[in-house]
């Protein structure tokens, strides 16, 4: 289990914001925790998967889409803030995220 520092939290946030700013062609400053990924940014599954790929590579994570899918069933991700929180948990717990409440 990785130790999540404030630096890592900031890094995860920056990766998510930079990614959506580029993919959705919006200013990074226009995206915040309450921004709705699908309604406000017109994000889609492909973007979501690409972002997971970025995190898998960067942090060398052992995480399966199946696990993320099961986790998302209980913890739906609709906003940028929810997505950042989930990514931080994935970096911290990898496939063990499924064992969290």
């Amino acid at each position: 289990m990785a130790v999540i520092t404030e630096d890592i939290k900031k890094e995860v946030r920056d990766i998510v914001l930079d990614f959506f700013a580029e993919e959705c062609e919006v200013e990074k400053s226009e995206i915040n925790d309450t921004t709705h990924i699908f309604n406000d940014l017109e994000g889609d599954s492909l973007m979501f998967l690409e972002l997971i790929e970025i995190f898998k590579k960067k942090y060398n994570l052992n995480i399966d889409l199946k696990t993320i899918g099961k986790y998302s069933l209980k913890h739906p991700v609709r906003t940028i803030g929810e997505l950042i929180n989930m990514q931080i948990l994935i970096v911290e717990h990898e496939n063990n995220i499924i064992n969290l409440d």
Partner: protein, 130 residues
């Protein structure tokens, strides 16, 4: 009686960055099974991948869900092209949670079709019970 339908379309260009190193692509390996990857390599990955991605998304929708709201794994949904995708001879394999969900609605017939041009791919699925 139609018990579900799903349709998905994608820009083919969006997949190109994942195809330059198809064998090593983490993105491709997350979504597609080894059987699918071998099949795609036999034909045309630049065409097979967008069609196959649309198939999976269309099936999620036909089952009334997305992958984050269904518990279905992307690899539970397989499409195997029997010939070059231009010939439209393919087989669909459903397993895991997706198979359970189909069983729950009476194992409907899966009617499927796809189209593509240079820019886009589109896949449609109708789940039909007699």
């Amino acid at each position: 009686m139609v018990v579900g339908c799903g349709i998905d379309t994608e820009e083919r260009l969006r997949f190109s960055k994942h195809l330059s190193d198809f064998e090593q692509s983490e993105f491709i390996s997350m979504i597609f099974t080894e059987l699918e990857k071998d099949c795609f390599k036999t034909f045309d990955v630049e065409l097979c991948v967008p069609i196959a991605f649309c198939f999976k998304e269309a099936m999620f929708k036909a089952l009334g869900n997305s992958w984050t709201t269904s518990g279905i794994d992307w690899k539970d949904l397989e499409i195997i092209f029997k010939k070059n995708p231009t010939e439209k001879e393919f087989e669909i394999k459903i397993s895991g949670k997706a198979a359970e969900m189909l069983a729950d609605i009476g194992n409907p017939q899966v009617i499927s079709n796809y189209e593509f041009n240079d820019e886009t791919a589109i896949f449609e699925i109708i789940l039909n019970n007699e």
